[in-house]
Symmetry: D2
Subunit: 323 residues, 4 copies
């Protein structure tokens, strides 16, 4: 039986597929270890609103396969203030809650960091589709989001091949091109534009014209939102070559939805359980991650202040194979 | 053995899922009846370019499940001219081709109509996702397109529920709201905006605010492109109520893609076979359709000059059930 | 406002996809018409157990897309007896329930028929994947089940083509070959074995050997369970030709699962609403169906005593096109 | 430009999803490096039949998303003999082929090992859904196969919950329980039976009865074929408790099919490229794998003689979380 008696869990920031699987793992792992577990509705806002309730085994039944988060999420300006943070810590203490698992992205991690300084033991779980968190190879939801993008590109490919047209697909990723890269390689996209690599649309246009001349029936350009707007890319390509008449698709929020892949469910399950076990061991102010297959803890401070690495090798491979 | 000896088939206009299944049915039904069958690449443009080739049983093997059209499609300005049409008829006659099956939408039907006046027996098959062709209850591709939209809305619902947000989804349908209607009813959308029914966004905003107050966690507005731009709808809703912060998704060309549903494959198979059998019977200048489960022929002229009916009863049902 | 004040709904027999959509339509349509609506858990068994509860708009929120039935289903021997039926009618009367909507298959309809004779107004909705109910062109769940089968056959085709092998796929349908027929046509199966059409496996074996010789890379035999066991078919084919080494797949209960297609959701929604409106109009002892696009009522007696018709034309088309 | 001038590629053994993506990577990487590349149809049998042909960029166009293998596969008894192996090596030499990439499982690797001893440089790529190859964390196809199983279990869960029934799902894995483990964890299966862990069905039956009593509406038992037949498991469970009436589903060959996941496509792409680059560097008789995110080479001998490790920690996690 653990020395820790009560912990809570919340989801915060943009939702991602697999958050429910992580939640299930946190709840069941806590109960398995004899710890009382509380859910906080609507993230930090719910915390400040005392929207806290006890959870049991059945609270997380039949949710492993659902997108979104049953605990919901919300933005909370008040929690950015020191006063808000103090209030949050106090509310948790009133419940006797000693540990908090926060599932979310960078912003959510910073809240956990603040709470830990106010005496609440915290654990961060990387719940975001962008894969833009450092010290973890994968974030929860990334694999599913890539799947949604690849599925959409497959659909576009059908119709683009029928008309011998180019297609610009704008995907999520403000600072991180991982969705574009992984989906681009997997779907055989000819061009992948990411914030991490400078590009020249004149060259892109030239290669496209060349490829069509060589018999390619379609040309797919995947662009991370951080590297440019789909519409702008298409019009600039048209300026470079009158032959290029690219259709633009902005995938938007459907990338956050859908049933999580087994990969994401299992990643979420392992990380959720790991977070609870880490709290039991007395850890705090840490981000849980998976690096080269191993579960690891890293100081939240370090995680939010380190830029995620981009896989240049995979990027070059994608270009090499999409000739 | 049929008196008709040689027929050809082409796909034209925007592609739709199930065109390949229709093509397979045309080819195999022709061969079954002892008729030589030719494929024309890239629609009417390919016809004018003599891009015509003989097809056999294996030419359409393993395509029933594929989106797009292996014969490809293209726009062709030249074919709008009388000269182009004469040239097309002559080319067909040079091959000894007496009948032509055209798979496509309204514009494609008009081409078939012109050719029939120049002595080529023609049959139109309704290949378009919009369901905007009269004298057929369903067009080939419509059921699949509705499925793509409903799948996307399911994904949006996950994430919208997590944030208690509204979502505006713009779908295809310039003059016909059928995709919006069928997808809206199937996904439990609260609001469906179509070109056929006038609407008042003030009322919509009021109902949305009311529903959120009553505990609904999401609100989905499906809008056919012919009824308004998604972005415009969202900003006008925000003007009406400051509480409404709707995310916009424009589904675009992914609606044309994906493996056709069994419904579309079977519809395409039945219609393709019916077109060939009708040509054998000496019919010409007809559109093939399915009305109340029965295969029917209608004069192309009548089809292109009659507006498709909108199902008001289903529309009202959708609103009644999405409270 | 309706003269009917209270109605109830139950699901019975094997579940099917779209039952939840039907349930949602019944509940919301009733509430829209100012009628109190009760749910009965676990079919007729739940009725006898007084497992009855009041439902509101939110009771059926977020279920339109879910497989199975939130009301659950169960077999109930007691309800086969006159005593059980009387007890059921009495329990309903104790609640003041004047009308009952039963969603299920033939057996469930018979229960409704008995109750109607005991003074309860009843409506049957065709909820079964087999499409084996007469006086309706489609049952709720059939379109989805066909989709599950076609998806599985697509997967088998990948691997069978890679090994140039034959595949026997056993699907549901004890007395009705509709799943086999529609899935067989849609997936280009070379052979479709159904209870309605006698067959000769010697001929099948001959055609398969011929087709492989002609360059076909796979051969798919879809068999409805009522026409034979997959394993038996495979071994008899092997007896007829030593070249045929067919793999057997029994799809089983996965055919009942999965998110309902838009077609099934919309069919269920229309039928559910129709059932409620029919009860309001004072109808009883009727099965709701859709025939040639029109909603129709038929005496339950007539429905359970009429054999469903098989579409021989479609059957022959499937064979003609799968050469 | 590489010293190696000509290489060939074949797929062998049971096919797996992602083989086509691997093939595409091998072909395009070879061409990128200025190497002539040959495809061998139908595995080692095709090699002995001289079924060898030159491939170019377009040979592998539009295949990245397809299940199965366009090069097909076949068993070949002749190649088990020394004479067959010599003949194979000679044929390759006649073409001037110096290196061979073999995509397949253990048996396929052994063939590559033999050829390397006869002077052909060989590389093995782990193409099998079972994840039963040592010195690689993942085989190509495994992630997709797990997805197929999880999708099927989701469908079963719908219907099992509706009837409060147990479900036994037999999945692939003769010596390796990885599919059962990963799919079991991802789908929240209560029981996972694998060849690596002894089990007691009496205990399983007891836990199931307990869980139903505690309000669980379904119970899913995933069993790897190497740990027992689904039917046997179900009848033994029924012997232990008369309350347990489990339905059995044998997923069979559909596990090999379907479009590969992005994960499998990217794994295949990286490994395919790595195999070519390794041949260029003069390596031979090696299996390519991915261990903790890094691409690694291991002697084929060592790979085929080492048993794959089972992840006991993940196994225990799955049980812990499925209460």
């Amino acid at each position: 039986m653990s020395a820790v008696k009560k912990i809570a869990v919340l989801t915060s920031g943009g939702d991602s597929q697999g958050m429910n699987a992580a939640l299930r793992a946190v709840v069941r792992s806590a109960l398995y270890h004899g710890i009382e577990i509380f859910g906080i509705q609507r993230g930090y806002q719910g915390l400040l609103n005392n929207d806290i309730f006890s959870m049991d085994l059945r609270s997380v039944g039949d949710i492993i396969q659902r997108g979104g988060t049953v605990l919901q999420s919300a933005r909370c300006k008040e929690f950015y203030t020191e006063e808000g943070q103090r209030k949050g810590a106090e509310i948790l203490r009133n419940y006797g809650i000693e540990g908090l698992v926060v599932i979310g992205g960078d912003g959510s991690y910073q809240g956990a960091n603040k709470l830990s300084k106010l005496g609440i033991n915290t654990m961060g779980l990387p719940g975001t589709i962008d894969n833009d968190i450092s010290f973890t190879d994968y974030t929860i939801g990334f694999d599913t989001a890539v799947g949604v993008v690849v599925d959409a590109i497959n659909k576009l490919r059908d119709t683009m091949s029928s008309h011998e047209r180019a297609s610009v697909v704008e995907v999520m990723g403000r600072h991180c091109g991982d969705i574009a890269l992984h989906a681009g390689l997997a779907s055989g996209a000819e061009t992948i534009l990411v914030p991490e690599v400078p590009y020249d649309l004149g060259e892109v246009a030239q290669r496209m014209t060349h490829n069509f001349a060589m018999g390619k029936r379609h040309s797919i350009i995947v662009v991370a939102e951080g590297a440019g707007k789909g519409d702008d890319i298409a019009s600039e390509l048209a300026r470079h070559s009158s032959q290029i008449d690219a259709r633009v698709t902005v995938l938007g929020h459907i990338q956050r939805g859908g049933t999580p892949t087994p990969f994401d469910r299992n990643l979420a399950s392992r990380l959720g359980d790991f977070a609870v076990r880490s709290l039991i061991r007395g850890e705090s102010d840490k981000a849980c991650g998976i690096i080269k297959g191993e579960l690891v803890l890293t100081d939240i401070d370090k995680v939010v202040n380190t830029k995620n690495k981009f896989d240049n090798e995979m990027y070059e491979l994608a270009l090499r194979l999409s000739q």
